[in-house]
Chain length 347, copies 2
DNA sequence: TCCATATGTGGTTACGTTGTCACACACCAC
DNA sequence: GTGGTGTGTGACAACGTAACCACATATGGA
């Protein structure tokens, strides 16, 4: 063991290429080549340098490398709400794929706030990230990034006005499947709980709901459609009002949060699933399979969406010229016990 | 509108301080002072530079700044499993606090694998992160970081052999509360499902289980203690074996994953909660309050743990000399319907 | 013998930022 | 006048790395 190891437990300065070059009796240039594997280095010198780097505990300075190479291996990711399992799983899928490709993920939760989102974009720009994956709340962030030559992938919804890659699920189809499942069971008054946004995801789910009705030639009662903003304090009272005043025989809750609120409201009112009301959710989360009866739900491949988004970004890094792709994944309707034909009493 | 804006939609090179200095007719030094707010700059020059920066879309290069200042505003975070809601919420708490303090979070999921964890530590070192928050699986990563002068905060468990800050919950107390709750109800054969690790978290929960028995002067049957590794493929069969062979009247599952598996096993066997078996979990997750009956659980302030960890790191950044702190948060036993006295038939 | 090619090496420069320093000027008090 | 102080500026160096180039030396074929 080298006595220096014990003598310098906390090096005041980090070890640099120049240090290990000096230790191995070469120049910094050679050290750089030896450790990065680019360019000619004799086997003997490479070995000496590797040994010196190991002994001195050399760790390359990524800031210097990024500055010099004008390219980093960091990807910025901005999601709406890391506390929501949907976004957490999205992030997990992204992180997994990036890690396998030896990239790092900088993760920010922007609360779907366009100001925060723009601030994120600026931060990612300042970091010179190799790309950005975003669940957009506004088109401005993507525009800023694109204007500065940063690749962007939109996940879960499309908002960008500039051409960029995207990964979404087929919201129309998912919502239509949910709706027609209920209509086929004989429901005529299907309530819709949907997020109050101008996002393509929610617009698509609304459209699927309407399409389903058109397909079954059931007229839509506008009063059955309840748009509710994220984290709105009156969420449950508005759901309660829908239940009490419109008497839907079934409810389609177009995201996992609204499904949870709806479930709570129904339970608190003592309404039984599916006898008194049928319930369908969108985005399968664990509790839906565990409660009794289980919740019929449009399941989306969330982790896979994250993976695909990361893959799109990596693909574009490899081939910047490839045309923008929009991948649409297919949702699956999982029928559980929360849906059944309306009971005679309801009519 | 400046015609240059339209003429250069995609600048090939990023705008630098030198560019805006030139545009404003000053030196780069003055530009730096004007925008960073350090040092003397005339109000007039500052205004001109600000305007130029705005007009040209200047975004500072963080790599250059980090290189020069030898300090970044990035914090590395390594958790065991981002797919598990516990770690996701931990990360959410950390991210929130860091964002408010204008730091960025680099998040990695290391699968509790010491090799991956060490690789993370190296990557964070290379990025010259201002600090690292980690749910440790091994002491090596913290040692490496500390040796290089990087501040480390351990969350959820303690493993480091070097002095460093930490945030944990009182696992002994949580587990003791869960255990004595069951013993007080009259249970004499309480099964323990615990993660098979050498982590302080699981060791503490085991200890709390033993302490609870000691307190009630109930002898512990070793066969009731089942250590199960994360993601072990035979998890449910081992739980099944416990149920079938040892006939516990109650089960304490010492983390949310094991609680879920136990619940599934009991349901599949048609055993009713709490009539046939009582069940207590550790770490409250949504389904536990939603299933019928609800699961009695030792709840931990997960998001708050993340926040505290970030705060400890920020505190140390402000005052590197402050003594290492170990914050111990208190868990809360939430009694729901899954626990009741053993039924006469069970004896 | 001599030029081509392959193999190695080190010097220099540049990436974009910020800190240090020297310097210039204005103003005021002595 | 002189010496201070406050204000303002730009030249220059440095952070650590990697690309580029110039320059060695060895090997081979013409």
């Amino acid at each position: 063991m080298n006595p220096l190891d014990a003598a310098a437990p906390v090096p005041a300065r980090h070890v640099t290429l120049a240090d290990i070059a000096r230790a191995a009796g070469t120049s910094a240039s050679t050290a750089s080549r030896a450790l990065s594997g680019r360019g000619y280095v004799s086997e003997e010198a490479r070995e000496r340098l590797r040994e010196a780097a190991e002994r001195l505990g050399y760790v390359p300075n990524l800031s210097a490398r990024t500055l010099k190479q004008r390219a980093s291996r960091v990807i910025g990711v901005a999601v709406s709400d890391l506390g929501n399992q949907f976004y957490a799983r999205l992030a997990a899928g992204i992180e997994q794929t990036l890690r396998e490709a030896d990239y790092q993920m900088v993760l920010v939760s922007d609360n779907s706030d366009r100001t925060q989102e723009l601030a994120c974009a600026k931060a990612f720009l300042a970091m010179r990230t190799a790309g950005v994956i975003i669940t957009p709340a506004d088109s401005e962030a993507a525009a800023l990034l694109a204007r500065n030559g940063v690749d962007v992938v939109e996940v879960d919804r499309r908002l960008a006005e500039v051409p960029c890659d995207g990964v979404v699920i087929d919201n129309e189809r998912g919502a239509r499947d949910a709706t027609t499942h209920l209509l086929a069971l004989g429901h005529l008054r299907v309530g819709l709980l949907v997020a109050d946004t101008d996002w393509t995801s929610d617009a698509g789910r609304l459209q699927g709901y309407l399409d389903g009705h058109a397909q079954f030639e059931v007229e839509v009662d506008e009063r059955l459609i309840v748009p509710i903003a994220f984290h709105a304090p009156d969420t449950e009272s508005r759901i309660g009002a829908l239940v009490d005043e419109q008497r839907p025989t079934a409810i389609f809750a177009a995201n996992n949060t609204l499904a949870e609120h709806a479930w709570q409201v129904l339970r608190r009112r003592g309404l039984r699933l599916p006898h008194d009301v049928s319930l369908v959710g969108f985005d399968d989360v664990p509790w839906m399979a565990m409660v009794e009866p289980g919740i019929t739900v449009v399941s989306q491949p969330t982790v896979e969406m994250g993976r695909r988004a990361a893959q799109l970004l990596l693909r574009r890094a490899a081939d910047p010229a490839c045309p923008p792709a929009l991948e649409t994944l297919e949702p699956t309707l999982i029928v559980r016990g929360s849906t059944a034909p309306p009971s005679p009493l309801q009519h």
